[in-house]
């Protein structure tokens, strides 16, 4: 091995690796292949060919983190296997969570129904047909207490896919933990809290950009002091990709969103190192294995450099891009659904070879309905097989140094940076969204892709080639349409049993706070939640004060 690399390796071992090994020993003393050949922690080039290995690729757990955010990666600890789940009532979802934890899942991921995600109670007329459908219905703290009953919140980490009303659901989670005797500095988890991609691709926005960004800053500030182990945002490319973007667009737009959040938080007076270590990301895993691996590696490098160079971050944590991954829902086919298990396996490998921190694997029946318990188990087993049988977790960043992967990483980085620069020139992401630019770019990609499928230029097995006549599988999961009535009854009971005057006073205080931009709304929302004000009531107060966002339609 060349001197410069050898010397740097020794430095890395001393300054980065050994510290981690002392605190977190690896899973095994030695790692071997299936036929007992030893596997090393890290493989390095014999020599510098172009002279930029150290600068561009470097060592895992070290700037610019191309090879991963931890020095031992999965030799130390496997990624968190986190299945996104939730449907029906809090009682039903609570049962599913306990089942998943029993099956070896290591973290929870809460799916909320659409009314909850948009801040409507189950009894609101617009909630008709939607209650409990794509996730669990949460109307008040009462539902949240049931949702986590018997699950110790000091033991699990919980990810919540909630954006526009993230402050309210986080407040409810804190309240439940405290009722369990777990203080807020002990709870671990993530709220998605990424409103920009809601405007771009996902659609569960409530308020216009300015007050939405304020709520996000309030959460950053509150958590940096009170809930230090909480990931305050999960900046998401997942939905951008699902909407039809390319891999380059996925990371470019996600990072451009990230830049906007960081800039905004700094503008309100927060120090970059006070909050940036709690930023996390969320990406998609598609079928094109090598492109996906290159994408994750490029994204880490871009983010590290932006945080260091543009925002002058000093802490290592602030430069590390930690991310969750979910396999690509849009690649699942309703035809021959068993084939989806294979797609998910490839996507799982992509995420793992790309160095994800946690992973959700989709179930094979998701193009048809919500997944059944059986198909969720197969999805979880897919991760466990990759983790324990494939060997992919036994060495760090196994594809590094492949001519193909390194060149692809460079190209994706370059093209993503061009997009990021263009958006910066437009005045940042909020402007680019208002102009419809980002939406249009994604739609054009989606349209091109679909046309290629229609013409047979792209093959989707079982859809436009290798098709069969088949009957739809039996036993799909059905959500009981009577569920809305159950929730409406619960709301009625809550409203009768709670102390009306403390609800009223907490909501009045919230309204006053909302009108004054200098107020942090988190404590006020916590008060309202404790008084059993419903999600709809709390959001209503904010809607009145902040107004509502209207989509700019781009075709």
């Amino acid at each position: 091995m060349q001197e410069s690399i050898k010397n740097r390796k020794m430095e890395w071992e001393e300054s980065v690796l050994n510290k981690v090994l002392q605190k977190f020993p690896e899973r095994r003393e030695t790692f071997t292949t299936g036929s007992d050949k030893p596997v090393e922690r890290l493989y390095l080039p014999e020599e510098e060919t172009k002279g930029d290995y150290l600068e561009k690729i470097g060592f895992p757990g070290e700037y610019p983190y191309t090879r991963g955010v931890q020095p031992t990666m999965y030799r130390g600890r496997l990624w968190t296997m986190r299945q996104y789940a939730g449907f029906g009532t809090a009682e039903e979802s609570n049962e599913r969570y306990k089942y998943l934890l029993d099956q070896g899942q290591t973290g929870l991921s809460i799916a909320f129904d659409l009314p909850t995600q948009i801040g409507y109670d189950s009894d609101d007329p617009v909630s008709m047909g939607e209650v409990g459908k794509v996730g669990v219905a949460i109307d008040s703290l009462k539902d949240m207490e049931i949702l986590f009953s018997g699950i110790p919140l000091d033991k699990v980490s919980t990810s919540m896919t909630i954006n526009a009303p993230a402050a309210v659901l986080l407040a409810m989670y804190i309240a439940v933990a405290e009722k369990q005797g777990v203080t807020r500095d002990k709870i671990r988890g993530t709220i998605q809290n990424d409103i920009l991609k809601e405007y771009i691709a996902r659609g569960t926005y409530i308020f216009p950009p300015a007050p939405s960004m304020r709520l996000i800053n309030n959460i950053f500030e509150f958590c940096s002091k009170e809930v230090p182990k909480w990931n305050t945002i999960s900046i998401s490319g997942y939905h951008i990709r699902e909407a039809g973007s390319t891999a380059v667009q996925e990371i470019a737009f996600t990072i451009a969103d990230g830049i906007e959040y960081v800039r905004n938080a700094i503008k309100t007076g927060l120090d970059v190192d006070q909050f940036a270590g709690r930023l996390s990301f969320f990406f998609n895993a598609h079928n094109d294995l090598f492109e996906e691996v290159a994408k994750y590696r490029a994204a880490r490098r871009i983010w590290a450099r932006i945080m260091k160079e543009k925002f002058s971050a000093r802490k290592e944590k602030s430069m590390m891009m930690r991310f969750h991954t979910q396999t690509a829902g849009s690649t699942l086919t309703a035809q021959q659904p068993d084939n989806n298990v294979i797609r998910v396996t490839i996507q799982t490998l992509a995420a793992v070879l790309g160095g994800t921190q946690s992973l959700h694997t989709n179930s094979k029946d998701e193009a048809l309905a919500l997944p059944t318990e059986d198909s969720v188990r197969v999805a979880l087993r897919t991760q466990q097989i990759v983790a324990h049988e494939s060997g992919a977790a036994n060495t760090v960043d196994p594809l590094a140094g492949s001519y193909f992967i390194e060149q692809m990483t460079d190209e994706i980085e370059k093209e993503a940076l061009e997009y990021i620069e263009k958006i910066e020139k437009m005045g940042g992401m909020v402007r680019a969204i208002e102009a419809g630019y980002v939406q249009k770019e994604i739609q054009d990609s989606a349209y091109r892709y679909q046309k290629a499928v229609e013409k047979g230029e792209r093959i989707v097995v079982g859809v436009n080639k290798f098709t069969v006549e088949e009957a739809e599988p039996k036993g799909l999961l059905k959500v009981d349409p009577a569920l809305r009535e159950v929730q409406i009854k619960k709301i009625k009971e809550i409203k009768e049993s709670r102390d009306g005057s403390s609800v009223e006073s907490s909501l009045t205080a919230l309204k006053k706070g909302a009108a004054d931009e200098s107020v942090n709304l988190m404590p006020l929302i916590l008060d309202a939640v404790h008084a059993y004000a419903t999600l709809g009531e709390i959001t209503h107060v904010l809607r009145e004060e902040f107004g509502e966002y209207r989509e700019s339609i781009v075709l």
């Binding site: 909630s127 939607e130 809601e198 849009s330 193009a367 739609q443 349209y447 859809v463 799909l476 989509e551």
Partner: protein, 134 residues
């Protein structure tokens, strides 16, 4: 000049999955139809109001949240109540096969499930167009 067939593509309910709806809207436009796309989170009432105001021949509903059994038939009912039941309603999205029959009975004239080529939608429109034009 012959009047172009007018089609409203609408997203009832609360889900934001508009990739399919936007694809259909754009592909139908490319095929020469006049397309009105509503955007997401429309109520059945607002969809029907648009249909009447824009004098459309077809309403295409797209929904991926599972609320189709409640919301699709509601659109048909409201059109009828407005005396606009000559407007043909079709739908698409993540819709289990077992729901198709009851939706058809309630007046949704075609359901296009995942993987349907655009040509199938165009064939449907052309076949219905002839009967309405006569």
């Amino acid at each position: 000049m012959e009047r172009k067939t007018r089609i409203e593509i609408a997203k009832p309910g609360l889900d934001g999955h508009d990739r399919g709806a936007k694809y259909i809207a754009r592909a139908l436009k490319d095929a020469g139809y006049e397309v009105i796309y509503t955007g997401i989170r429309q109520t059945p009432e607002s969809i029907v109001a648009t249909a009447i105001q824009e004098d459309v021949d077809f309403v295409g509903l797209s929904l991926l949240s599972g609320a189709h059994n409640e919301l699709f038939p509601r659109v048909v009912e409201l059109l009828k109540a407005e005396g606009a039941d000559d407007i043909i309603v079709f739908g698409g999205g993540v819709i289990p096969e077992e729901d198709v029959e009851s939706l058809t009975k309630k007046g949704i004239q075609a359901i296009f499930r995942p993987g349907t080529p655009i040509s199938a939608v165009i064939d449907f429109i052309e076949s219905k167009k002839k009967t309405t034009a006569a």
